[in-house]
Amino acid sequence: MRVVLAEDLFLLRDGLTRTLREHGCDVVASVDNGPSLLRALLEDEPDVAVVDVRLPPTYTDEGLQAALEARRRRPGLPVLVLSQYVDQLYANELLATGDGAVGYLLKDRVTDTAQFVDAVRRVAAGGTVMDPQVITKLLTRSQARGMIDSLTPRELDVLEMMAEGRSNVAIAATLHFSESAVAKHTANIFAKLRIAPSADDNRRVLAVLAYLKR
């Protein structure tokens, strides 16, 4: 898997490169600023890009802007954005650039390397990955507005993990359910919230996110 990495802090860039290589990824370019990132995204044809939001020269959301721009020019270009702080606005902007092949995670998540590399793979495969913190905020908001009152606590747990972009297998493993139990819960959730069910994993994530963002 060919990866472009953008991170301005040397220590983190080095650590991430090592982690990705250890898990069999080929880091074809690692850059430390916005303009070189955009060039690498468009010219190196990576399978996935791992991008820090804040990059030089402006030290604002340069990395995010480059990722958005690259996805506008190459629709479906897989990008996983890392940030010291997650913001719903940025999550929405990323989701708006096309269906899937996009991820948004807190930087802290890289410390769990297995999970992190799994997220990179899912994004590269066209999936949608959202940080649990984004989802928690969305769920709290939906709860306050009475949008998910009909769900049982179990179903809420499943909904949360679905929204993060986990597959049924992963949800079953984390919550210690059987896969068929997870399938039953998801069917219930879709029926109660009146979301059209979908066999495609990514479509399912997008439908759930769209519902929670209402």
Partner: protein, 418 residues
């Protein structure tokens, strides 16, 4: 739209004329009071006369600001209340510079101001007569009937007068807005306190707000210090201790060491979380990245209410202003959710060339009073150091509209480098 503005200007000229007449009436009363001071009766008359005159001149100041944007600094209110003796209050009034200013205005305004606003009104009324009334009544007006320079004797001359009347009306409409602006400037000349007084007041205000800013800043630093001390710092210390125990257990009890190391991972995650919250409280990253518009949009997304955001800013504002406005909007949103039990909120961000204007309207139960809540009072105080003002319109039953205005420049939009 422009025609409507002109008609409004005409109505305002009319109102200014009426106010001038009222001013002169009260002015005469006040002069009478002054003349009667030696016999004592004047003291009875002076206090109500002067306060009425002040309320009239205040109205005139406020109108000039509202109609033409001419800012007029009002004089200090008269000192003293009902507990003072009449003589003492009258003395305070006579010693106040603003009183004599009001009196001069009461006498000059009917002549100068009245003449000014009379010009467009005269054109309009006389034009209206020529164009709308005379065509029907000219046969009754006799043989020596002139309209301006047209002798109205038959249908053709009547029609000529009609055209002239229309021209006069148009002239009246055309003249009304500039004349109204001129009247505003004249009002400012008469009714504004002298430059020196304005400066003295400004310095007193700056001294106050500077002290306040320093206090707030010191308190903020103390809060950050405390948060770091109780949060991230404490967690790092515990992390060190746990790591130490884990190291010692590594050989004797690897399973326990492993448990401790998992604890370390959790504590470090918490420390990061603490730092993140702290940073967000100091200066939210989205505000630094994108400016006020997107930062408020982000607030709206996080709010439990339905928040509509309309951003009409074409550039970036000075960073301290952005920060103050952001936290103010955050507080107003929280108020709308907590106290007003609102469901929908509309936020408009606007810059009129000289000041940022933010309006937050909710559909809650209203009745908000800055005198009661410490939140709103604190908000108002914080805005004061930017010369900002918060106006609150919150009748019982709602809706509540909070408007905050901060004078500042708008810089051109930042050009992205990628």
């Amino acid at each position: 739209m422009r025609a409507k503005e002109r008609l409004v200007a005409v109505a305002r000229c009319q109102l200014a004329g009426l106010l001038a007449v009222a001013g002169s009436a009260v002015g005469s009363l006040v002069v009478l009071a002054l003349l009667l001071l030696p016999v004592g009766v004047g003291f009875w008359l002076l206090v109500p006369g002067a306060t009425t005159l002040r309320s009239l001149s205040d109205r005139s100041r406020e109108r000039a600001t509202r109609w033409t944007g001419t800012r007029i600094t009002p004089p200090e209110p008269y000192s003293g209340d009902h507990s003072w003796s009449r003589r003492r209050r009258a003395g305070a009034i006579l010693a106040a510079e603003g009183f004599w200013r009001d009196l001069a205005w009461a006498w000059l305004e009917p002549w100068v101001g009245g003449f000014l606003v009379g010009v467009p009104l005269g054109f309009l009324w006389y034009g209206g007569f020529g164009a709308l009334v005379q065509p029907f009544v000219w046969p009754l007006l006799g043989p020596d009937n002139w309209y301006a320079f047209v002798p109205v004797e038959d249908t053709p001359t009547m029609l000529a007068a009609l055209v002239l009347g229309v021209v006069f009306m148009a002239a009246g409409l055309l003249l009304a807005p500039p004349i109204l602006r001129l009247h505003g400037r004249w009002t400012r000349r008469l009714l504004s306190v002298p430059r020196r007084t304005e400066m003295v007041r400004r310095i007193a205000h700056l001294t106050d707000t500077r002290a306040e800013v320093l206090d707030v800043q010191a308190a903020e630093l103390r809060r950050i210090e405390r948060d770091l001390h109780d949060g991230a710092q404490a967690r790092l210390v515990s992390l060190g201790l746990t790591l130490d125990s884990a190291t010692r257990l590594l050989d004797s009890d690897p399973a326990a060491a492993r448990k401790l190391l998992l604890e370390v991972a959790e504590t470090s995650a918490r420390a990061l979380e603490d730092l993140r919250n702290l940073v967000h409280g100091i200066h939210p990253p989205v505000l630094a990245d994108r400016g006020l518009g997107d930062a408020v949009r982000s607030l709206a997304l996080d709010s439990f209410l339905d928040v509509g955001v309309d951003v009409r800013l074409s550039g970036r504002l000075p960073s301290p202003v952005e920060s103050a406005a952001y936290f103010a909007v955050g507080e107003l949103l929280a108020n709308a959710a907590k106290h007003a039990a609102a469901r929908e909120v509309a936020i408009v961000l606007d810059h009129d060339g000289g000041r940022l204007r933010v309006t937050v309207t909710d559909d809650g139960r209203g009745g908000a009073d800055p005198a009661k809540g410490t939140g709103l009072r604190g908000l108002r105080r914080r805005l004061e150091s930017f010369d900002g003002v918060l106006t609150l319109h919150s009748p019982p039953g709602g809706p509540t509209t909070a408007t905050l205005e901060i004078p500042c420049a708008l810089s051109s939009p930042k050009t992205s480098s990628c």
